[in-house]
Symmetry: C2
């Protein structure tokens, strides 16, 4: 592994030049001058260190406009790798991701019910493994964490699945690995991924409903993540929707999560199958099986998923009525239920709210797949360290 | 009435100097230089026209710092009046409001079930009356309108109470009265009033629940109004909360508004009183009576208001879970139910959501009273025409 090389490109003009090359490259220096309205000497001065630290390369010649043919510049996709971590699952996942959002290498370590320091140990183990597999200098570590995350201070206030309370995870990792660390709630980074890597025109007001092991919303307003004050925006999974309902990890009962998470759906299906057939049906132990049974028309699974869809649709209707976004995107394990599940959501949303504004909202499934939190975790580094907020047309997919 | 004098103070430095004097005056030119980081000649050049158009006055001398005693400048509270309109009620209300948010004169014209052009005629009549009563030049017209309002184009997309659909109200008024016109949803302008005139430190993330004839939320995020794309944020009154429920003006059934608006509460009380006592109880025809009966402990009214409070509390819990604001403020007629009603809301909110983030949210009643929409309507002009976004400490109350 090459020595971790922390390049901070933080001044406004530096970031402007780099993000212009990133988004629109290959570009000549003259084209950068034209795009950025900086002077030619300034652009030259700013490009030189980008070449020197190996973020940008010269890739041949453009068309001549009379004089010499201009040298074209582009960002080197693998110039740096970013460590992305997704801690919002039963297995902790990590990946090395290049500057264009391509997953170069990934790994996952099962939690196996470990909590507290033992769970923290898995995070260290995962990062060590990723560092060892990196063939490029590392830009830093980006984390999507479950529960209440204070992005400003880098502290996980509460993550019930691993029994963490007030863990200064960013500081711990910064000290241990000597790399920049950024952290946000897993649903928020999912929304950041959708904003950064969605391969279409920017949608400035966007809600990502991240529905899997937990349920939450990531919210982008005018291109900015909504954190809440000081955090806690998008916590739609912990609002009570049935009373009294089943106990929830948060301490309340009847929360949306107790009805709609992968755990909740699995448990309901298991209970019904057990009751219906006195145990003669094969055991359903993984949400993938639920997806297959749902798509194959299994009536019992369809009943459970239908009910879950209506609860989730109602919560989305509430969210849309508050925010008036132009797009709602489903991510997480539940998005594997596909278009028929989306239809259940859409039906419930339009039943709950008949305002004409609902016609402006697109409801779809994220195209970023199961890596969405990893991608969003890493996108924090693109934004904070390099000033790159949109991958736009140059993005080539992920591995 | 003096001739309407349209003063557009729109360049950045102009607005910076004016808002500095507005918020911190009386100030000397040297103090403005210190506050704004502009040069002394620039401040002098910018102050001269503010004096010339009569927005600012010289009010005596400050303490000497060695040389001559400096002349102090302050904004003249009554230099301009703003016409504020509140169209979200059974009676259309209008007021002349000075630059410090003081209501100088107000008027109301009952709709008496008029709709369409007849309702538009009442708006004209109201504005004519306000213009005739103005003793200062007018800065413009600010409107808080019910229903779906496209602030950008100044078009009321749908206001069911007056059967308006796609009415370009801003353009109609601009042409007729030759004044700048700004318009937003009545709940949004209520939030703007709370942000502009709340007599405490700025709360950057704020939700105003405006609950009266209709129910909606006005949302401020990072000091900016949330409109939705293209509008429709905060429309929490038109989400179905019971099924099938009573028909709603929006075309759906069982919306929050069918359970919690002043109309809904009045109807429920009337029906119950009629049923309970076979008509022997005195008729309840106005929401003021409901407030009195609620506070006096009338059990029937308490039952109805309690139920309404729990529905509204649940909707607020949803809204808070999405936005994570630091403050939720109740305005509109329902706020007259006072602290006991707030307790019902708080109880339901904390029952619905037990996340520790809920501890960061203050739930209170707006101190701006029944004029909140008028004040917010006028605050649009302060912001758009004069660049003044916060009235801060200098605010003296309203008439």
């Amino acid at each position: 592994m090459p020595k971790a090389n922390q390049v901070h490109i933080k001044t406004h003009n530096n970031q402007l030049v780099l993000s212009t090359i990133y988004e629109q490259g290959p570009l000549s220096r003259a084209e950068i001058v034209h795009q950025t309205h900086l002077t030619a000497p300034t652009v030259s001065d700013l490009v030189t260190p980008l070449l020197a630290v190996g973020l940008v390369e010269e890739v041949g010649f453009g068309l001549s406009k009379g004089g010499k043919r201009p040298i074209l510049l582009q960002v080197i996709d693998d110039a740096r790798f970013i460590i992305g971590l997704d801690l919002g699952r039963e297995d902790f996942r990590g990946a090395l991701i290049n500057l264009k959002g391509k997953v170069i290498y990934h790994n996952e370590l099962p939690l196996q019910s470990r909590t507290g320091d033992a769970a923290l140990g898995i995070v260290y183990e995962l990062i060590n493994d990723l560092i060892q597999h990196s063939s490029s200098p590392l830009l830093g570590i980006g984390i999507g964490a479950p529960g209440l995350v204070d992005s400003t201070t880098g502290i996980i206030r509460r993550a019930v699945n691993v029994e963490w309370q007030d863990i200064p995870l960013a500081a711990l990792l910064k000290e241990r690995f000597n790399l920049p660390v950024y952290m946000a709630n897993d649903c928020q980074v999912a929304a950041l991924a959708e904003y950064t890597y969605h391969n279409q025109a920017a949608v400035e007001n966007l809600v990502v409903i991240n529905a899997g092991y937990g349920i939450g919303a990531g919210i982008i307003i005018k291109g900015q993540a909504l954190n809440g004050v000081p955090f806690g925006a998008g916590e739609i999974g912990h609002v009570q929707v049935v009373r009294p309902g089943e106990p929830c990890q948060c301490g309340n009962t009847g929360c949306l999560e107790t009805l709609v998470s992968t755990r909740a759906i699995l448990q309901q299906v298991q209970a019904l199958r057990h009751g219906a057939m006195k145990g003669s049906l094969p055991e359903v132990t993984h949400f993938d099986q639920i997806c297959r049974l749902f798509k194959s028309g299994d009536p019992l699974v369809q009943t459970v998923v239908n009910a879950a869809g209506h609860y989730l649709g109602a919560a989305i209707a509430n969210t849309v009525s508050v925010l008036g976004p132009s797009r709602v995107t489903l991510s997480g394990s539940l998005s594997s239920l596909g278009e028929p599940f989306l239809d259940i959501l859409r039906e419930e949303i339009s039943r709950r709210c008949r305002l004409p504004t609902m016609n402006y909202v697109t409801v779809d499934i994220s195209s970023l797949g199961p890596d969405i939190v990893l991608l969003g975790a890493s996108a924090q580094l693109l934004s904070h360290e390099l000033g790159i907020n949109r991958a736009s047309g140059t993005w080539l997919g992920w591995g």
